[in-house]
């Protein structure tokens, strides 16, 4: 049959027949529930690497949910940021803080059935501490050395006292890996076939597409509710909204707040929110005109944080006055920086500024990196203008922010978000405001002198009180502008019970049927 003898009717019949198998699966799909015992999560980032200890991925807070499904941290964390036994059932320092002691849980097994041993703990800690490993958090793990094993007890010598050492064991790069298996297969072999001791083991992995996990039958924490978990890597927020709305996934998060409000009202879907350990802030750099205390304080007092949260973020945010959010160890609710535009005007007037003769500087911000980041800065610039600050907005990528911050070359003001999953003040106020830190924009001698002694403070109560005092001082001097604590929106199918974590993680092992 030549082309010319094909009738229009025949062509249409053939095309329809060809299309039928493509869509028949789809029609069945929309009416079909997921395979029983399977939980599908539309996840917002890809998984670049299975090694939770070294490389760029290891310090990405967003990937930790996946790592914690496969690997065990040394110490586990409850939804309210408090710490609880993980692979370690006991841990602590001796009286003079020169030694650490840890007790390994009995009965924990790797995904290949072999037991988790104290040698695994020691090897994992030493590997994390190795300066040649490429572990960005090596500087924490290297503060303890000379580990010794006695039964299930591990002791080590403190090289340099790190108050948050055990807290880091629930945080970035704080995971136990299998020594024997890793040494047998090597780093590349481990990437291809990773094993952990966590509630789920890797069943299938398609890079940039999905990760399928199966429940680990020998898990010390008990069998999770779902036998199979699929992390679908859907990095575009619009696509994640489409995924949950189409029924392709059971849970998703990190979607625009407007979409969250729309989706939670839809039949078959439910939504929940929780403040997480991530804050929005504006770095103040110690350059003109920010060297003028009146300008800094005016910039602080002119911002109506509640209005920004209510109107831009649909109420999903918690205004804060320090870098310690509620729930953090050094949070002090008595420290308040009030919204007071008249006070801001009078402060600026003392320095010769007014709405007619404003002080001028640049504020840098990302656009689309965090929810409503650019719109927020636009709103703040508008508030500033009313009191006598004329700020010029410069948009840049997050990568450029890191580079400029590292070189101490940020603009006088720069928007950023700061995560602190362990809630310790050293990892928020400490790193963000301590001059020698490459991530600090305010290099003032005043904060260096105040924070410096707290790094090695062995008295915990004194250390926390010290940070509270530093936060109070910073608020009185206006050396940073904390804005609000982020709230994480989670959308899921009705019939699921999702446990929201203050550290922002979505842990499939804690998701059950309602």
């Amino acid at each position: 049959m030549g082309l010319s003898t094909l009738s229009r009717r025949t062509v249409l019949q053939l095309a329809g027949a060809a299309a039928l198998p493509l869509t028949s699966g789809g029609l069945a799909r929309s009416a079909q529930a997921a395979a029983p015992g399977t939980l599908t999560i539309a996840y917002n980032v890809n998984l670049p690497s299975f090694d939770p200890t070294i490389g760029l991925s290891a310090v990405n807070p967003t990937i930790q949910s996946i790592y914690q499904a496969i690997f065990d941290p040394y110490i586990a964390q409850a939804p309210d940021l408090s710490f609880k036994p993980g692979l370690l059932t006991k841990w602590g320092w001796n009286a003079d803080r020169t030694k650490v002691t840890m007790e390994l849980r009995k009965g924990a097994t790797w995904h290949d059935g072999s037991p988790v041993t104290p040698e695994d703990i020691v090897w994992s800690l030493q590997r994390a501490a190795d300066p040649k490993s490429g572990n960005p958090i090596q500087f924490v793990w290297s503060k303890v050395a000379n580990y010794r094993i006695d039964g299930n007890t591990i002791t080590g010598d403190v090289v340099e006292f790190e108050p948050a050492f055990f807290k880091w064991m629930a945080f970035l790069t704080g995971y136990v890996l299998p020594k024997a298996y890793f040494e047998k297969v090597g780093a590349e072999g481990f990437e291809k076939a990773p094993i952990g001791s966590g509630p789920y083991k890797v069943d299938a992995f398609e890079r940039n597409a999905f990760l399928r996990l199966k429940a680990h039958p020998g898990y010390w924490g008990g069998k999770p509710a779902f036998d199979t978990v699929v992390f679908k890597f859907v990095t575009d927020p619009t696509s994640r909204v489409a995924e949950i709305e189409s029924g392709g996934s059971d849970v998703t998060f990190e979607i625009p707040y407007e979409e969250f409000d729309r989706l939670k009202a839809k039949p078959g879907l439910a939504g929940q929110t929780k403040p997480v350990s991530d804050i929005a802030m504006i770095f103040i750099t110690d350059i003109a005109p920010m060297l003028d205390r009146n300008v800094r304080l005016a910039a602080n007092h002119a911002i109506d944080k509640k209005a920004i949260v209510d109107r831009l973020l649909k109420g999903y945010g918690v205004p804060i006055s320090t870098l310690e959010a509620p729930g953090y160890a050094a949070f002090d609710p008595s420290i308040k920086v009030a919204y007071d535009p008249e006070l801001a005007k009078s402060l600026l007037a003392k320095s010769g500024y007014s709405p007619d003769k404003p002080v001028k500087f640049t504020i840098q911000t990302t656009r689309g990196f965090k929810p409503k980041d650019y719109e927020m800065i636009q709103a703040i610039v508008g508030m500033w203008r009313k009191v006598g600050i004329d700020a010029n907005i410069e948009v840049y990528e997050i990568a450029q922010h890191f580079e400029l911050r590292g070189r101490h070359a940020l603009a006088p003001a720069a928007f950023y978000n700061w995560g602190n999953a362990i809630g310790d003040p050293s990892t928020s106020t400490g790193f963000a405001m301590f001059g020698p830190s490459p991530h600090c924009a305010w290099k003032g001698k005043d904060t260096i002198e105040r924070i410096g002694p707290l790094w090695g403070e062995k008295d915990e109560a004194k250390r926390i009180a010290g940070y509270k005092a530093v936060d109070k001082y910073i608020a009185e001097e206006g050396e940073v502008i904390p804005l609000f604590q982020y709230v994480q929106p989670i959308i899921h199918k009705k019939g699921l019970k999702v446990v929201s974590q203050a550290n922002g993680m979505i842990l499939p092992q804690l998701i059950t049927s309602a």
């Binding site: 699966g25 090694d51 500087f139 890079r207 999905f210 489409a242 590292g406 050293s426 991530h439």
Partner: protein, 335 residues
């Protein structure tokens, strides 16, 4: 296109790629965004930063870094990805087949659709229907592929959930493949159920990529067909009583194809470039999607490897189109 010209084109490939390497290498190190700055933790000391920089070879001068990288690249070693900790060459090879299959499917859809619309458009020349077809072509040309991706995602993924909207294959399917050409392998091994499952995931991104290209093919081919139909040989055939349909398909179409392939074939590179955003929207795991992550992470070795891959593909495609034109046009074959 004479054989001498083909050889000349082949000889020019290495210096072209070398030029691409230099430009990309320098640009990556000049634009803001330091991968080390992105990965260092807040408490890192200057010594920690220097150690990380040395670990990834970024402490050397740019010319030295280039010499090191280029020397290794000549032996097929494109370095190790900073973010993925794996050999760049292996990473790209693993993901390239997905993009190639998607692009091939998109091209087939675009050509089939474009040819059908062009033939129909010429067949209804002078009538009102031609206006509708020309208008439709204009609209489809104006809407870029990533916007089509969003439209199709909404229409057939959410409003009328007919097709899956993410990934290359259903995560719940337990299948294994010998190669990374999943679709071709499943068709070749007779696993039609797997092929259908793969096509279900590919169809929306492929159509999104295909639509603007189909509109371009339709416009170019329709214009060529119209011009060719007005030629003497076609008029004479008509006068001799051959049907218009037969003349169009047997006489006019082969001649009109040549300029369409010549002009439109070069645009296939735009289709390939469109995979970056379309793959991202559909979470389809090809090199386009990988490229976006590589840029976000400032993963220099991976970015370089991917750009080199795209450059090789573009050069190969352009050469293939020129060879195809040579094959189709007897004047070039015997000239």
């Amino acid at each position: 296109m004479r054989w001498g010209e083909i050889i000349r084109r082949l000889v020019l490939i290495p210096p072209t790629l070398f030029g691409v390497c230099i430009i990309v290498f320098i640009l990556l190190r000049v634009v803001p965004g330091d991968p080390i700055a992105m990965m260092i933790p807040p408490g890192a000391s200057p010594a920690d930063i220097e150690r990380l920089r040395a670990f990834y070879g970024l402490d050397q001068s740019i010319p030295q870094q280039f010499i090191t990288w280029f020397g290794q690249a000549l032996t097929g070693n494109f370095g190790r990805s900073i973010s993925l900790h794996q050999n760049v060459f292996e990473l790209v090879l693993a993901r390239l087949p997905a993009t190639l299959e998607l692009s091939l499917l998109a091209t087939l859809i675009a050509v089939a659709l474009g040819v059908t619309v062009a033939l129909t458009g010429v067949y209804v020349r002078g009538r009102r229907a031609e206006w509708a077809i020309d208008g439709g072509i204009g609209v489809f040309l104006a809407i870029p592929d990533f916007l089509w991706a969003l439209i199709l995602l909404l229409l057939f993924g959410v409003l009328i959930p007919l097709l899956p909207i993410s990934g290359r294959i259903d995560p719940q399917l337990d299948v294994s493949f010998q190669t990374n050409f999943y679709l071709i392998e499943s068709l070749a091994t007779g696993r039609l159920d797997v092929a259908v499952a793969l096509l279900q995931h590919m169809i929306l991104p492929a159509v999104a990529l295909a639509l603007p290209f189909a509109a371009l093919v339709a416009r170019l081919l329709k214009a060529s067909l119209a011009e060719a139909e007005d030629q003497d040989y076609a008029q004479i055939a008509r006068a001799r009583g051959f049907s218009r349909r037969a003349i169009l398909l047997r006489e006019v179409f082969p001649n009109a194809l040549i300029p369409t392939v010549a002009l439109g074939g070069v645009q296939i590179t735009l289709l390939l470039g469109g995979t970056v955003l379309v793959e991202r929207i559909f979470s389809y795991e090809g090199i386009g999607n990988m490229a976006i992550d590589a840029v976000i992470n400032r993963d220099f070795p991976l970015i370089q490897g991917l750009i080199l891959t795209f450059a090789v593909l573009f050069i190969a495609l352009n050469l293939a189109v020129d060879l195809l034109v040579r094959l189709l046009d007897p004047r070039l074959r015997h000239g």
